[in-house]
């Protein structure tokens, strides 16, 4: 389910509820954009799994998950 981005007014309301001195609308809009991006990034990390990778990216992801080799190089 897509996450609704935060808007400027929500940030201003939250600031008021928290008793923070924020009344600059431009600053509130910037905070809203930054917070929305952070929330989306966290949500992606939680929800995305190896299932969601394209076949071409899958083997590379497995390589990254694998522990480093403990023995010498293959001859």
């Amino acid at each position: 389910m897509p996450i609704e981005p935060l808007d400027r007014d929500t940030i201003l309301d939250l600031a008021r509820l928290a008793g923070l001195p924020l009344d600059d609308a431009d600053q509130a809009a910037r905070i809203a954009a930054g917070a929305s991006a952070a929330i989306a990034a966290v949500a992606r990390n939680i929800r995305e799994t190896l299932f969601d990778l394209e076949p071409g990216d899958y083997l590379a992801a497995l390589e990254r998950l694998a522990p480093p080799p403990t023995t010498g190089s293959v001859e």
Binding site: T49, L50, F51, E54, P55, Y58, L59, L62, A66
Partner: protein, 355 residues
């Protein structure tokens, strides 16, 4: 008595829609009625999209009326195992884990079928995460055999075999890692093919074991299956293992018959645990092939048991990578049977696969 379009095969119904003797709306309406009729008994669908299918059928008939170029499946209703991405549509993988997952992009195989003019009438039942060969599913309900509902449908593409055999779809898509197209095709008396690795793109299809996974069609005849495979096969940049070789016209090849074709018949391993009735059915099939002119060549496949074990190690090691985090963090999202099966995967390490 009016004609039952469900009695026709895929190739035949495509020709009839093309020549105007049947409409896509008429055919789709008949198949939707059949799907609704068999669903309470067979449970082969997890979703029947009547509204979407009829909208697409109307568009197909309009396109024909306008004189548009028609694809080889123009206006033909199909159904797909519930593990192929369709942009914007939630899909389940036969599980409760993925119920809210909405893909951003459509699977290549679905794009190819749509480009050929196919219409989707619904999503088909399957084993949870394709981890099962019988067609049982504790979350979405067991899928039953279309020939005799007292019997199992086979899996993991259970709905794909059952719906096609029940004449609720002209063909379906399944996936096959260790038999998941071939088993339900055999159990329901239809045709299914797991093509050579790399023939068909897996982009946008659920993964089980990407080193072995294949996507394949199920249909009611070899010719119908061949048309599906000709559309599905071919290189796809989204799946780098797909072959760049030109795709033959498999349907045209079937017209040549099997006169003179050499067919290998392995006599070791596969018969070891076969019951007398299965042996008898196999012998009857071989006799039928011979009557049609094929040459049977008995042979012994070396190291089958070892290969089977090695294949299991690869599948389980790759399934561990896919399911490991969920099994550790949220084991309750799996049904008990599949949790046990998936947990077995954790016993296989990549070292075991290397050995």
């Amino acid at each position: 008595m009016s004609e039952d379009p469900g009695a026709l095969g895929l190739v035949e119904v495509a020709a009839r829609i093309r020549d105007g003797s049947l409409t896509s709306v008429g055919v789709t309406t008949a198949l939707l009625a059949r799907a609704q009729q068999v669903q309470p008994v067979l449970n082969c669908f997890v979703e029947i999209d009547a509204e979407g299918a009829l909208r697409a059928a109307e568009a197909a008939d309009d396109a024909r009326a306008r004189g548009s170029v028609l694809g080889p499946l123009h206006g033909v209703p199909l159904a797909y195992k519930d593990m192929f991405d369709i942009a914007g549509k939630p899909l389940r993988y036969g599980s409760r884990v993925r119920g809210r997952h909405v893909p951003a992009r459509t699977a290549t195989v679905i794009e190819r079928l749509e480009a050929a003019g196919a219409i989707r009438i619904g999503a088909l039942n399957m084993a949870e995460f394709a981890l099962g060969a019988t067609g049982h599913n504790a979350i979405w309900g067991d899928c039953r055999n279309a020939v005799d509902p007292d019997y199992m449908a086979g899996g993991s593409s259970s709905g794909s075999g059952s719906a096609v055999a029940a004449r609720a779809a002209y063909a379906s898509l399944g996936s096959d890692t260790g038999g998941s197209v071939r088993i339900p095709a055999a159990a329901n008396g239809v045709v299914g093919i797991k093509a050579t690795y790399g023939r068909v793109s897996r982009a946008g299809a659920m993964k089980l074991s990407p080193s072995i996974d294949g996507v394949g069609p199920l249909a009611r005849s070899v010719r119908d299956c061949a048309r599906m495979l000709t559309i599905l096969a071919g290189h796809d940049p989204r799946d780098p293992v797909t072959s760049t070789l030109q795709v033959p016209d498999f349907e045209a090849e079937t017209a040549r018959g099997i006169e003179g074709l050499r067919i290998g018949v392995p006599r070791n391993y596969f018969y070891d645990v076969a019951t007398p009735d299965v042996r008898a059915a196999m012998e009857a099939s071989l006799a039928a092939l011979e009557r049609e002119g094929a040459r049977l060549v008995e042979l012994e496949v070396p190291d089958v048991a070892s290969m089977s074990e090695l294949s299991r190690a690869i599948v389980y090691a790759e399934a561990t990578a896919l399911h490991g985090a969920w099994l550790r963090d949220r084991p309750g999202v799996y049904s008990p049977q599949v949790r046990v099966r998936a947990t077995t995967c954790l016993l296989y390490t990549s070292d075991a696969a290397d050995e």
